[in-house]
Symmetry: C2
Subunit: 453 residues, 2 copies
């Protein structure tokens, strides 16, 4: 959404060595916009621009960049400046950045930070990155139950200068045990001398640091909270997860689901690596399901081989194979897509499996009949053989109807037996439809062989 | 995430006619959890439970339900109660609900509401549903520039009892022109007698009511705001779009993208209708790209037909067709998926097209060589024909490498010529790979024919 003009103007400032203009322009831009510019320029230009940013802007920007760019930029500037910049980053972003580095590099960076900050970051780094602890931040507002509303306002005011966002106010005791939560609303509508403990809500939805990030993100979104408190096994408040963290977890999940639908597995390889990491990792993520498809394809080859005699008598039937398995695969994939996405968003439930299978079968049958008639007419005309047209047309209709049933049923079956429907449905369905489709076609040909030759 | 026990307990309350327990249990549940229960019970049970909810809970719940359930429930209870319930719904949810009804029904509902509310809702209904105006709510906090900080606190306090969420405080003049925004932070750190006009931020990111919802959602998420103000063409503040609205727009967009990848078009048919609406609509959404695939498949049939002579001389080659186009299609689809998702999340940019094409080609070539050797060995052994094994193996390797190039390049090409890569890549790639793959295979067979027979 950054205009091309902006990029041009920045480049012109560099060409004309107009340092002041470059500095002003960059520092007045939103960090998300600078990140967009950084995606479209060379590493040398990035470094040049980065050096003109003030510390706060540089910290904001780093949060928006890819891990590669973070390392590239922080590695190129001097130690003191890089320490100053990273100490201004939100704690969760800093922990994410360090999480991708070697232990040695992590120590180098952390040793340059103030003691208190570095120990907070070390604690964040101790949680696996796909848990509540791994995505939470340690910057949040908390008050003690025996504070008054007036003291609370004074406290908030003292924090107003810092970078902490106000979402909710958490109430803890001296040992950091989470007791309740205060909304701005209750704070404002209570007398100044009221105790926090008497106006807080004690029914707090909270998550544990070891909870999976998907559960945390889904809960936050489901209940519409701006943030969720994260506690340890003793109910001690450790951090908060905010709505934008939930958004990124959700986006990551969606990417994994989309990848899975074409047989790209994110189980062993981080999804970022597949697109930009080592070729070896991309192959490891992609080959397994291709291999299963290969086994399935040999199944289809076997079916065709079984009817080799027919192919000898009537080689022309071979030319329709791509048509039949192509269309069957396509409409079957549509059904898989609808069910997998529906199961993921909650629009489709296991209870409604039969309803959907029947509905998709109707869709497949109607489209199959229309396409079957079309294909029959074209084939009849082209090959001047009405029986051949009929066989290909009927095979088409049957294939499309069967494909929708297989495509709709397989996600439910896989889910029932505890296999992720997203990852398994793609290759499973591609193979099953090939095999069933070919079998139906060859059986139809065999049955009508005496009219065909 | 609602436990099966909860559902069982609710059912038992009904069986034992334990009305008080049912009422208490239901009203103490979060509306999002009740909605989950509603997904798994019969319409009769839903109505029964709904009648036990207090007005506020019923309004909260309606917001979470599908349009069908909303109509089902509100249509079954008496007019007065339904008016009371809908007047407590957030304005944007109410407008969404009414937006799916006929004009006549809308009027019936609106005429029962207080005049001021019904005119606000009518205004929301006047915006197309996929614009900022269509997703915004008219419930927000605003103050005038000449108010003091103290007056502002009094105002917020007066609103504390209502349902309005505090995100930001918008500053307007007497004619509702948007002048600036106030954060809680600046409010708290300013003296009580300061004028709002002197402490507000005038650099406000705002959107226009007619802006597309995707742009609004993407901007909100990109810049990390909790809400964005929506103005009309004269800069008059009309409403706000909040982060959860952006989340739902984003989810809808993702669903459209996923549907598109298997050739399900959401251009003419609303994406909800495809899964649960009339069969006719599901067919209209699915048939167009299948038809284009059909045309493409006839292209593949034509290629095969062109080599019919070879099929006559050597029918055995036909049985490997499903293997070659199956695997080529699969690895090509993986490349398409990676590029389309990358373009959508911003991880892949048009500038890096060549980089990705080359990278994917390497992946395709390596996997192709491995699979090619495997297929060669299997075929050689099985058919006891080394040349046939070689031809099928080389065709396999070439096909997979070509498929990755086509799969990677097509999203970029389509985007460059202004076609949505998500919707067009699926059918385009399936067809192109079939045609190219078959051509390569038959040419290889033709070249080595004298060694094969």
């Amino acid at each position: 959404m950054v205009e091309a003009q902006t990029i041009e103007r920045l480049k012109r400032h560099v060409e004309l060595s107009n340092e002041e203009a470059l500095q002003n322009e960059l520092n007045s831009m939103h960090s998300a916009d600078i990140a967009e510019v950084f995606d479209n320029i060379t590493p040398e230009e990035r470094l040049k621009y980065f050096e003109y940013l003030n510390l706060e802007k540089a910290a904001d920007l780093l949060e928006e960049l890819t891990p590669q760019m973070q390392v590239e930029l922080l590695g190129a500037i001097d130690e003191e400046k890089s320490s100053k910049i990273i100490s201004q980053m939100p704690h969760d972003s800093l922990a994410d950045f360090l999480g991708d580095l070697s232990d040695e590099e992590v120590n180098t960076y952390l040793n340059r930070l103030p003691r208190r900050l570095s120990s907070q970051i070390r604690e964040l780094l101790s949680y696996p990155e796909d848990t509540a602890g791994g995505i939470m931040t340690t910057e949040y507002l908390y008050v003690y139950e025996n504070m008054t509303v007036e003291e609370t306002f004074t406290y908030i005011r003292s924090k107003a200068e810092t970078n902490i966002d106000f979402y909710y106010m958490y109430v803890v005791d001296k040992e950091d045990h989470l007791l309740g939560v205060l909304s701005l609303r209750s704070l404002l509508s209570s007398p100044l001398n009221a105790k926090v403990g008497s106006i807080m809500t004690t029914d707090v939805f909270k998550v544990t640091a070891t909870d999976e990030q998907e559960y945390v993100a889904d809960s936050l979104i489901k209940y519409g909270y701006l943030a969720l408190p994260v506690v340890d096994e003793f109910n001690r408040l450790k951090g908060i997860v905010t709505w934008d963290d939930a958004h990124y977890v959700n986006e990551e999940e969606t990417t994994e689901e989309i990848y899975a639908s074409s047989g790209i597995s994110t189980g062993l390889v981080d999804e970022d690596e597949i697109l930009t990491g080592k070729i070896r990792l991309a192959i490891r993520a992609r080959a397994p399901w291709l291999f299963i498809t290969l086994l399935g394809a040999f199944g289809a080859v076997n079916v065709a081989n079984h009817f080799e005699g027919i192919l000898h008598q009537l080689p022309v039937i071979a030319i329709f194979i791509p048509l039949l398995i192509g269309l069957g695969g396509n409409i079957g994939t549509q059904s898989v897509t609808l069910m997998v996405r529906g199961l993921s968003t909650g629009q489709v439930s296991m209870n409604s499996a039969l309803h959907h299978i029947f509905r998709e079968f109707k869709v497949g049958l109607i489209i199959g009949l229309i396409f079957g008639i079309l294909v029959m007419l074209v084939t009849w005309n082209w090959k001047n053989n009405v029986v051949l047209g009929g066989v290909v047309g009927i095979a088409m209709a049957a294939n499309m109807a069967i494909a929708t049933i297989l495509g709709t049923a397989s996600p439910f079956i896989l889910k029932r037996i505890g296999v992720d429907p997203a990852i398994a449905s793609g290759p499973f369905i591609a193979t099953a439809i090939d095999i069933v489709g070919l079998a139906v076609y060859f059986i139809l040909v065999t049955m009508s062989l005496r009219f065909l030759i």
